[in-house]
């Protein structure tokens, strides 16, 4: 593997790492397997790209993506908590609707951002050359997101959110609405996923309506790799694990491609990877 390959993997790992943090919230904190992310990732990219073509400041376009993602999460939350549709199906329904919505947002299936000002070109124009512009920006964003998330999960509301996924009966006994907590968790989760989508779009230079396929599996892979490699002793360690997991995941994909695997086989590889990591604890137990 040459250096440029390593740098690309690292950049992708960081950009998608924010998505993995979002999946961590829904999957691990809320215990809610939320498939909305396959739609909210391209939603973030679509909103950001469309606004860029309209001449919006690239940083503000990230904010718009965050809001759009939060709204997508709220819809899944509404379907699940108010209409009592099962979590998996709620996510699938929102994800499916988002495919049409993303096309509407973009007005076409693909928006190229070549030559447009993005957050990455902005930093480059400040005099920081490639690849440092990308790396610096991505590291700043993901560290900020991680620290804010850690802090939030240690507030009173954060405690309630964590207990909701862990023992909903207990949280109701504490006088807290599990529905509100689920809603909040899904909003935050999908807001982060959409932010990640917007970053990925600006980073790779285009937004595409199909770029979200397999997001949930990649996110799960990152979360689980992180747990196996770094552990989950505390929230702070767990979120580091998610980011490391995301980077390792992108590296393993790059290595697989370098070894001659066809790009079209990647989804299969990812799925197998997730299965292996998910079953590792059970296999270890059985072998003991």
């Amino acid at each position: 593997m040459n250096l440029s390959f390593a740098i690309t993997s690292l950049e992708q790992g960081l950009a998608f790492g924010i998505m993995a943090l979002g999946v961590f919230i829904s999957f691990r904190i809320l215990d809610f397997a939320d498939l909305t992310v396959d739609g909210s990732l391209p939603l973030g990219a679509a909103v950001s790209a469309r606004l860029l073509t309209m001449g919006m400041n690239p940083f503000f376009s990230l904010g718009a993506a965050i809001i759009a993602g939060g709204m997508a999460g709220a819809i899944t939350g509404f379907l699940n908590t108010k209409l009592k549709i099962a979590p998996l199906l709620s996510g699938i329904l929102t994800m499916t609707s988002l495919y049409s919505i993303n096309l509407r947002v973009m007005g076409r299936p693909n928006i190229p951002l070549i030559g447009k000002e993005t957050i990455f070109s902005f930093i480059r124009d400040l005099g920081i050359p490639y690849p440092w512009n990308n790396l610096l920006l991505l590291i700043i964003v993901i560290v900020a997101v991680k620290l804010i998330l850690d802090a939030f999960l240690n507030t009173q509301i954060g405690f309630a959110l964590r207990a909701t996924g862990d023992n909903p009966q207990m949280i109701r006994s504490m006088g807290i609405s599990t529905n509100s907590m689920k809603m909040l968790g899904l909003i935050i989760s999908n807001a982060l996923v959409a932010l990640s989508g917007a970053l990925v779009g600006q980073y790779q230079g285009f937004a595409d309506v199909n770029m979200g396929v397999g997001t949930i599996v990649a996110g799960l892979a990152s979360v689980i790799i992180g747990e196996v490699v770094i552990g989950e002793k505390s929230i702070m360690i767990a979120t580091i694990g998610v980011i490391v997991g995301s980077i390792l995941y992108r590296f393993s994909i790059s290595i697989a491609l370098n070894l001659g695997l066809a790009a079209s086989d990647l989804k299969l590889l990812t799925a197998i990877l997730v299965i292996i990591f998910l079953s590792t604890p059970r296999i270890k137990k059985a072998l003991r």
Partner: protein
């Protein structure tokens, strides 16, 4: 302080499995009452507590707590004034969170949730004081995840969490039934201590006749969704298990059929 009027709860209404779990119950609980509730299987004891706690809607009747109609309030809204401990010692705590994080939620119960830190020096001091009282050494293990505690330790923690915010009403549903005998005794003593100290109005279901007689100031016996006896403190003092069983047989016209209870008599 708690007034229940004409309460009726029917499960599977309008089906062949229709089951009248609570059959037009009236009950007035006075401030500071500690009521033990006994009855055979299916008597409606748990359903009564769950109805008060707002777990499900009831068919008929009203439940008034502190002059406020809570009949239609959902579970989490009722919980703001009501503390509960369940039979399952795992039900009342969050296993992946630490002792201090669990307790923090209980201490902030009376306030609205906010973005303030969940833990603080001040809060930890309060926690240590409370944990010292239950005398299980948990005050030295604030950062231990609750899943690492034994069932008895978790039930003690749940009991503390249910009482620490001074609820208006405490509902205990056979909360020592799943524990080993020695631990059960500890939890019972702790219950009496916490309830007396804070003068919390309490309803406690128990399968143990002896406890039902010894603990509390009032005893209620339920059968077939009705309250068949409501025994005040004065009479309760002279009660024996034999007397209680006889009283049951007179009203019920048959033997007492709570399997767990027979074992413990």
């Amino acid at each position: 302080m708690l007034k229940i009027k004409n309460l009726e709860k029917i499960f599977y209404r309008g089906t062949p499995n229709e089951n009248i779990a609570i059959n037009k119950i009236d009950l007035t609980v006075n401030e500071g009452d500690f009521i033990t509730i006994v009855g055979s299987n299916g008597a409606g004891k748990s359903t009564l507590l769950n109805s008060i706690a707002g777990v499900f809607p009831v068919e008929n009747g009203t439940i008034i707590l502190d002059n406020e109609d809570i009949t239609k309030k959902t579970e989490y809204k009722c919980a703001q004034k009501i503390g509960r401990v369940f039979q399952n010692p795992l039900a009342g705590t969050s296993p992946e969170m630490t002792i201090e994080e669990n307790l923090s939620l209980a201490i902030s119960k009376s306030n609205n949730l906010s973005l303030k830190w969940g833990l603080s020096k001040h809060k930890r001091e309060i926690m240590r004081k409370h944990l010292e009282k239950i005398d299980l050494g948990l005050e030295k293990r604030l950062t231990t995840k609750v899943k690492l505690l034994s069932g008895g330790q978790r039930q003690a923690l749940t009991l503390l969490m249910a009482t620490v915010a001074n609820p208006r009403l405490l509902l205990l549903d056979e909360h020592t039934a799943a524990l080993d005998p020695a631990t059960a005794i500890k939890i019972k003593n702790l219950t009496a201590e916490l309830v007396n100290e804070n003068n919390i109005t309490t309803l406690m279901i128990t399968h143990n006749m002896e406890d039902a007689i010894k603990m509390g100031n009032r005893l209620i016996m339920m059968d077939g969704g009705k309250i068949i006896y409501d025994i005040p403190a004065a009479e309760k003092a002279d009660l024996t298990i034999e007397k209680l069983l006889k009283m049951f047989e007179i009203k019920h016209g048959g033997k007492f059929n709570n399997d767990r209870m027979l074992l413990s008599v």
